[in-house]
Amino acid sequence: MPEGKLILITGRSTKQGTGLNKGKDSRDYQEAVRTLEMNREDMARFGLRDGDLVKIKTLYGEATFTCRQEKLPKGMAFVAYGSLSSRLVGGETHASGMPDSKGFEVEVVHLPRGD
C-alpha cells in the first residue's frame, strides 16, 4: 500500500439504515455517512486520533470525514454509503452499468486538528 493511500469499502451500516428512515438530515444518518473507519495501525501511520477530521481524495472528488478506529484489515477504510462516499466514486461502469463502488484506492489527507 503506497504511503497515504487506503482501499475504501462502502456499505450499509445499522446506524445509516435506521438513520435514513428518520430522514437524511437526521443526526444519526449524517453521523453514519460522515464517519470513516480505519484500523489502529493506519490511524497511527497518519497521525490520526478518534474524532479527527480527515479528507479523502480520489480522481473524481473529495470529501471530509470524521475518523474512528475500528477492527479492519490494515490498509482498508470503511464508510457507510451515502452522499459523501458517492462524491468519491467515478461514473465509469466498464460496460456493466455498475460503478466501482467498493474496493477503490483513496488518498488520505490529514486535516489539522480543529479544522
Partner: protein, 429 residues
C-alpha cells in the same frame, strides 16, 4: 388498534409477520421487525406536513405538479426514468408504460446493486430456491460479500441461520454458517467460520473452489495474494460437497467490487457444479424492499430486468449503455423522472451531478437529496404504510403490501397513471 401480518418493505427480506399498533392516526408500536424495519415503519408513518407538490421550490397542488412534470417529460428528447425499488409492482407497471410512450430509458436501482447478478443469470443461469427451502432444508449457509447483520437482520433469524425448519429441527445447531468478506463485519459473530479475502480477490477464490470440487490438485501459489490459504479453501470445498443442502447468499461485496459480473458468474457456475454432488442454491441478497419486483415487472413487459431503452419504439437492453449511471455520466439524458429513490445521494457524483443540470421530476414520500434539486416534486403515499400493492421478496415470492394508515397524498400508481394519460395527450396534441 393492532394490525397483524403487515409486510415490511424496507429490505429484500420483505418480512410479512409484522404487527403494528395504530393510535391517533400514527404508528405507535411495531412488533417482530428488526431495528431497520422498526425505523422504517416509524419514520415513514407521517409525511402529512409536506406540500402535495413543488415546482421550482414553490408549493403547488398534485395536479399542477403532474401537469408540469408531463410537460417536461413530453418535451424531452432523451428522458430517463430511474429508481422504482421502494414502490410496488402496480406503480412500476405504469412507469414502464410511460417509458414506452416517451421513448425513454428506464432503469432501476438493480443496475447499481445486483445488475451484475442479473448479467450472470443471463449468461449461465441461476441455480436458486425460495427462502422457505432455505429455512427447512439448508444445513450450510455461506454469506459471501454480504453483511446481513446490518443489511438484512432477519435473514439470519427468520430464514437462514437460527429458525427451526422441517429438516433443520434444532435450528442453529443443525447448520454451519460461513462468512466470506474483506473485513470482519458484525455478521462474523453469527458465523462458525470467517474467511477474510483481500479486496478484489473474490473471483480467484471462487475459481479455485471450482477447481477443487472438480478434484484438480492446486498448488498454494494458485491462491497466493487472495488473503486465504489453500487449506481454508479445501476445507470450504469439502463442506460444500458434503452438506445436505447448501446455500450461497450473494452480497454486494461481489457485485460492486472488481470483477462484478465475473464474480457472480463464478458463483453461479460453482453452485451449478456443486449440484453434481449435493443440493446447492445461490441467491442475491436484494437490498431495497421491491427491487426484485421491478426486475420481474420489467422482464415480463420488456424481456429485460433493468437498463431498458425505448428510443426506437421497442425495448433494447445494454448495460453500460442504457443504465442510469452511464446515461447520466455521458450527459445524454435531458430530463429525468425519479421514483421512490434518492440517486442524488447514492449515485456517483459524475452521474448525480447531471440530475441538477436537467429538469428532474421526483416522486417521493419525504425529503431527500433528490427532492432538494428536483424542479418538480410530487409527494406520494408511502408504499406499505399508506398504499397497498404487490412486492417481490428476494426469492421472487410475491407478497401483498398492506395499507395501515390513511394518507392525504395519492399513491405512486395514481400519480404515474395520471402522468401517463397527460403525456399521451401532449404527445398526440
Amino acid at each position: 388498534m393492532e394490525i397483524d401480518n403487515v409486510v415490511c418493505a424496507f429490505c429484500g427480506c420483505v418480512c410479512d409477520d409484522i404487527t403494528v399498533t395504530v393510535e391517533e392516526g400514527r404508528i405507535s408500536e411495531v412488533k417482530n421487525a428488526c431495528t431497520l424495519g422498526r425505523a422504517w415503519f416509524l419514520g415513514h408513518s407521517s409525511n402529512a406536513h409536506r406540500p402535495s407538490g413543488t415546482v421550482n421550490g414553490r408549493p403547488v397542488s398534485t395536479e399542477e405538479a403532474v401537469e408540469e412534470a408531463a410537460r417536461i417529460l413530453a418535451q424531452a428528447r432523451y428522458p430517463l426514468i430511474f429508481g422504482l425499488t421502494s414502490t410496488y409492482c402496480e406503480a412500476q407497471k405504469e412507469a414502464i408504460a410511460l417509458a414506452e410512450v416517451l421513448g425513454a430509458c428506464i432503469d432501476c436501482c438493480t443496475s447499481v446493486c445486483h445488475g451484475p447478478s442479473g448479467i450472470a443469470l443471463q449468461g449461465v443461469g441461476e441455480p436458486t430456491c425460495t427462502l422457505g427451502e432455505v429455512k427447512n432444508r439448508a444445513d450450510l449457509i455461506i454469506y459471501w460479500g454480504s453483511n446481513p447483520a446490518e443489511s438484512h437482520p432477519r435473514h439470519l433469524t427468520r430464514y437462514a441461520v437460527t429458525p427451526k425448519g422441517l429438516f433443520t429441527p434444532r435450528g442453529r445447531k443443525d447448520r454451519r454458517v460461513v462468512l466470506v468478506d474483506v473485513r470482519p463485519t458484525p455478521s462474523a459473530r453469527a458465523a462458525d467460520i470467517f474467511l477474510q479475502v483481500k479486496p478484489g480477490k473474490d473471483f480467484e477464490c471462487l475459481w479455485a473452489l471450482r477447481a477443487l470440487i472438480k478434484g484438480i490438485d492446486l498448488e498454494e501459489d494458485a491462491v497466493a495474494d487472495t488473503g486465504v490459504t489453500l487449506a481454508q479453501l479445501k476445507d470450504l470445498a469439502d463442506r460444500m460437497q458434503s452438506c445436505r443442502f447448501g446455500m450461497l447468499c450473494v452480497g454486494q461485496g461481489l457485485t460492486q467490487s472488481r470483477g462484478k459480473q465475473m464474480n457472480t458468474t463464478a458463483v453461479f457456475l460453482l453452485v451449478r457444479e456443486l449440484n453434481g454432488f449435493t443440493k446447492f442454491a445461490a441467491m442475491p441478497m436484494r437490498g431495497h424492499g421491491n427491487v426484485t419486483g421491478i426486475d420481474n415487472v420489467l422482464a415480463w413487459q420488456t424481456g429485460y430486468p433493468f437498463g431498458v431503452n425505448f428510443s426506437r419504439g421497442y425495448p433494447r437492453f445494454n448495460p453500460g449503455e442504457f443504465t442510469a449511471v452511464d446515461v447520466l455520466t455521458r450527459q445524454e439524458a435531458d430530463a429525468a423522472l425519479i421514483i421512490a429513490s434518492d440517486p442524488v445521494a447514492n449515485l456517483p457524483r459524475p452521474a448525480s451531478g447531471r440530475l441538477s443540470q436537467i429538469p428532474t421530476v421526483a416522486l417521493e414520500t419525504r425529503e431527500s437529496e433528490t427532492t432538494k434539486i428536483a424542479k418538480v416534486v410530487i409527494t406520494t403515499a408511502p408504499a406499505g404504510i399508506s398504499a397497498e400493492g404487490t412486492v417481490y421478496r428476494m426469492d421472487n415470492v410475491p407478497l401483498r403490501l398492506r395499507k395501515v394508515l390513511p394518507s392525504p397524498f395519492p399513491s405512486d400508481e395514481e400519480v404515474l397513471s395520471r402522468l401517463l394519460e397527460r403525456v399521451k395527450e401532449l404527445k398526440h396534441a
